[in-house]
Subunit: 409 residues, 4 copies
């Protein structure tokens, strides 16, 4: 149980922190301006992102997320362990609209690249993984459906039917992150190939290019008013008999559920560490603001209630970070399966803890906290979705409790 | 302490409920469509609102908020008491974008009309109150400033300086609700006429027409991601030596703080009852959704955690409503001053209680809860601002605690 | 919905408040001393209680709880409505060890007297109700069992079997409040007469005198560290073939569940109002203490966190009291059945709200808060049991939620 | 940041777990019986404790708490680091009345022994440390005073006045843990030697034997009804001109505050880890109980709300333990000063987290949870005092927040 940051981590941390100061934070107002430009093409990623990507690539801060499990020579990615990458992910979370895409480390592309690296065929890797690693295209992961409780994967209604040498896909998906971005060229679609099979062998995953006939990107879904158009938003996508070659299947038929589970682990670490970075930024903003503003004769920072918020924030972050680091370390040492309880625990603990902190930072800012002049409100909205994404917290608690109970039967 | 709904209230309630069913709920998707229309003029109020206003006026559901304190013959308004209006306000909260403006009962115009009715000169009433009561124009209330903690009114920096027969206004305001709407013709501006006076006699209020030279409506501030453009948003407004006749002063010099306090009472009731209406709608949506969706073999409504949310929501709403009704009754019977503790108590209790309920309703809806296909996320954002508006909860708690402590000294 | 205190309530309130000041509060240290006396007979009620009873009886503050439902001439009790008695119960809650027994208004005797008044035969009333109304004896209500989840009444295992002209009772009960007191002469025992009947027709209630052969009062159960020996504690009682005449049945066979439900309503009001009285006392002690103690250069009462506690306490009490008063009013006007939701709501809301307040008062007192020199710790423990008594909160929430859901089916 | 349990820790853990199973848990009912024995001498430690001590000593499970900082040859104690001892302290917390004293690892003796080992003179060590290490006598630490907010050390009123070759002590202390035990022979008393000095140089510590004239052990203070007589309770002690030789001073005059601070670090780890052990036991009991009891047709363990409690408990414990282990590791590697923030953080986080878990375990047990047949209620009461001991949480939060704010000035 050794979570210390090793030499490579420390070195990358230094370089990443310098990159944040020199390039990312100064780019935040540029992003705002580019997003507000009335002449901006709808859903296009603002040009500042490509500029940051060029700089990051030059500095070797690129594809850091792709972990050492695939770290054999010639394999893509930086070859970091989960524990090495985790503190870097935290730093990117301080500016989550810019830093992750700048480093080609943004969801959902990261999870999709991992999935293709692990389960893709050589041809699938050549066609889709290579340009994703190069940030030449973007991708989406189409699982959630509007008409059912998608937290129960057996509810999925989208059909993937074999027809000769093709698969034919029919169904509706929504909250498909990134899919409004015209550069998003490929969708990984989860659906049922065999509704009569065992519940966890009914689903398969298939690669569906955006321009496949029968695919319609209908509209951008919102998150508390935000369209998140800087990174391609969250689309509703309809598949009306979309036909792709059978070779577009990922892995084998019936493997969809297992691949989805495998995809979750590292992504969970990334999400949680970025959320911690968001919380750290919120604490920093809350401290600065309350030191600066005076009410009733004293800086807000001297009010007992504000001090209570700051202290609680610090105490909660410290506990949370240790749990996420331990989970990363477990994944590196005993694998996802051995880290199952912890992977669920960080899903349960992180969003609600970070939400509490962001809420206090918003409150400490008064009206400024809910608006567009601080990042707080948007950070709050982004983090709020984590209580729902990959299944609501309640589902994970139920599953974790059952495992705990089993120990005492 | 009799909060029963009397005959007039019951009769109006019936008519209002029928109006909601027949006109307001069906108008919700129309509003969505009109707001999404790419050809819509920026910040214009969608035409459905005027249609609803015409219908409401025809049905006599108009200006119900203007209470009986001014209920002498010939006075404007429906002449309802606070206790009579409160249950009607609750109903309008179920559809807060449409029902309040439909009835000409939307903030901030309601508070501004009350203020003019109570403190305005005959000429001010003629020029501004009359068209407001007729919904011919809209108004804004400019108090909050971006550069100071506005919860402490002595912090206000905007200057209102006498110069001959004029006042000259210089300062910056923001989160001026409604001011982006081009129909918003008049601003009530709070500023300092005498920075050397007693802290609570430094401020005055002055009427500043929108088209006064030196007035610039700079931009729409957001609330989480919402611009609230359906009702004129929340503007940043600059006053650079804006000059108005001395007759535009409301009341007397130095009365600004006292007038602001007087404005708060009824508005507090309206806000709180509307928030309760929002909570009721959230409970209804939560029940319907969880009865409808199945996960892991059972409707969500049969999950213990969901039942806990529903029960807690009901128990909290019942307590809260009684407190707000009691406050309304106190205002009617002993006046705002006698209801001081309760007016603060409902400000403290309502937003956090309603936020808790909205959060659970969002969670019960999964991804749908955070998006634009249910009203929940937007209701959440609107309610969240109530923890800040009119001073953050923390300021009110501090003040209420001091009064409680005084009883035991 | 008129909760105003009427003339009779106000008059009784004044007299009761005077009685508290003149007799009850001064008796608190006397009670402490009598309980600490090493020569005190085990489980005997300290003599101060009888002294207070004599004084209360003299002043006509006696049996106030017995409500007007039985208020026909010649019927026992003060004939108050639930709404009239509620504010008096609140006052007694400020000194819950002394004031309720002083007025012959202490649980479980109150519920037992109501039960006998409503369901007892003439002979049962003569033999047991009369001396209870006179405080000549005490009684207990034996429902909870150690071996099953008693929140589900169908789990009850105690058997009440007809054998000729007798009933024979066999089973174990615990947490039988008052039963350690040697003056407690009669137990009302709930058990199954017909395990094969409909779940809610299996139970019956029977009167079992303490000295019946086969009845063993085994030991006093504790509540946190308290034995509550001032009022007879909480006994474990075994019934090993205890035989009583068939005439000891209350009502009819199979009516046990229905009688238990009927018993709950008024008792719920009493418990909740007394708990509010406890909360008010806690706020008063918290204010006094924090005004008195200085830390880091300021009275604790000037610390923001302490002010937050005080304000929240006040806001929560005000809401809670209104809900309990409304429930009392509903019971008076539409009956227990019509007040079903509210009777559950106050069971859910009261203990947790009061617990929060007591916890803050304890914290504000430092070490003194957990010890025997303030009433706070014992108030806390007593209130904590209310989250369990009459079924844990969770059971009531589940039931309330189901009723709410039914409205939206 | 390596918290892994090393070989020595693992080996001791195994032995301690075996000792718990073979000796401690079976001794729990014995302790209950001995405490309930009416012939037991007041405040005497029940004989089972000495039996366990004999066995533990035989097994080498003795004085494990005394850490390696003093681990030079010939020094007392097991020479474990804080990180090595922490997991052992957790295990003892599962049975906190028996396991810590069995291993001679119970507060307040542990802190007192550390203090004497670190700051005592050779003679003081000979006279007091040696018999304490041998469990021949017990000790107490007298700091808290009934008349002031002791969280602010400058409030202390007890005077320690030099008079010739003696110190004369005058003052009142309370909640002096262990002092009711007649075997408690020595008190370490904190008081002011120089009220005119710098605030943090006013206090000194002096050794006062129990039998010193002028020392009166007045009474046992309670903790939620418990007298904690198994380990000497919590005494109120008066010092009325108690006179001791000047050689009884610990360290130098004015060093009292610094010594008290030094005493806190390891004790904080012990308290927190024991509390985690209590939480683990509570989770275990909660699981077993809810698997066992059936209500409404299902085991309680299958109720969603119960599963929520279990999952939250697990998630919170995991985070908390990591933070305490990190703190222990920091103390070992960078010293108490470098671990200052973390030492405060665990004081803030632990009691409230463990309280939440214990509360849920109590609730899951129904009436059994508040009584003497499970350890839960007493664990709850003991843990509740930790929110107050060594200063209330609020003081620590304030201090931690100030340090956080300083980073952003």
């Amino acid at each position: 149980m050794d979570f210390a940051y090793d030499a490579r981590t420390l070195e990358l941390r230094e370089r990443l922190l310098a990159f944040m100061d020199a390039h990312v934070y100064p780019a935040e107002p540029v992003l705002e301006a580019q997003l507000a430009d009335p002449d901006r093409p709808a859903w296009a990623v603002p040009p500042i992102v490509a500029e940051l990507q060029a700089e990051a690539r030059k500095q070797g801060l690129w594809n850091l997320f792709l972990t050492g499990r695939h770290g054999v020579p010639g394999e893509p990615g930086a070859g970091l362990t989960n524990l090495q990458y985790a503190p870097l992910a935290e730093i990117t979370g301080r500016s989550p609209q810019l830093a992750p895409p700048a480093l080609n480390c943004a969801a959902p592309d990261t999870g999709n690249m991992e999935l293709l690296a692990q389960f893709g065929s050589a041809e699938q890797k050549r066609q889709w993984l290579a340009p994703l690693l190069d940030a030449g295209i973007r991708s989406a992961f189409a699982m959630t459906e509007p008409e059912v409780a998608s937290s129960d994967a057996t509810n999925i209604r989208t059909r993937i039917e074999r027809d000769g040498d093709d698969y034919v896909i029919t169904g509706r998906k929504w909250y498909i992150t990134g899919a409004m971005n015209p550069q998003c060229r490929i969708f990984i679609v989860m659906g049922k190939t065999d509704p009569g099979a065992d519940p966890h062998r009914q689903q398969s995953m298939v690669l569906v290019p955006r321009d496949t006939p029968g695919v319609t990107v209908r509209r951008g879904m919102k998150v508390f008013g935000y369209d998140d158009s800087d990174h391609g938003g969250h689309a509703e996508v309809h598949f009306d008999g979309a036909r792709v070659p059978a070779a577009n299947l990922i892995g084998e038929e019936g493997a969809g559920f297992a691949i989805a589970q495998a995809r979750l682990g590292p992504g969970r670490i990334h999400h949680c560490m970025r959320a911690i970075g968001m919380a750290e930024r919120a604490v920093e903003l809350m401290c600065r603001r309350t030191l600066d503003r005076v009410a009733f004769g004293r800086p807000l920072a001297e009010q007992g209630v504000v001090q209570d918020w700051i202290a609680e924030s610090r105490v909660r972050i410290e506990q949370l970070r240790l749990l996420v680091l331990k989970t990363a370390w477990l994944m590196d040492t005993v694998g996802n399966r051995g880290a199952h309880t912890e992977i669920q625990a960080i899903k349960i603990a992180t969003p609600s803890t970070v939400e509490w902190i962001l809420d206090k930072a918003v409150q400490a800012h008064g009206a400024a906290g809910v608006g567009q002049d601080t990042p707080l409100a948007q950070l709050w909205a982004g983090n709020r979705t984590l209580r729902l994404a990959d299944g609501p917290d309640e589902v994970h608690k139920r599953s974790l409790a059952r495992r705990e109970l089993k120990r005492h039967r």
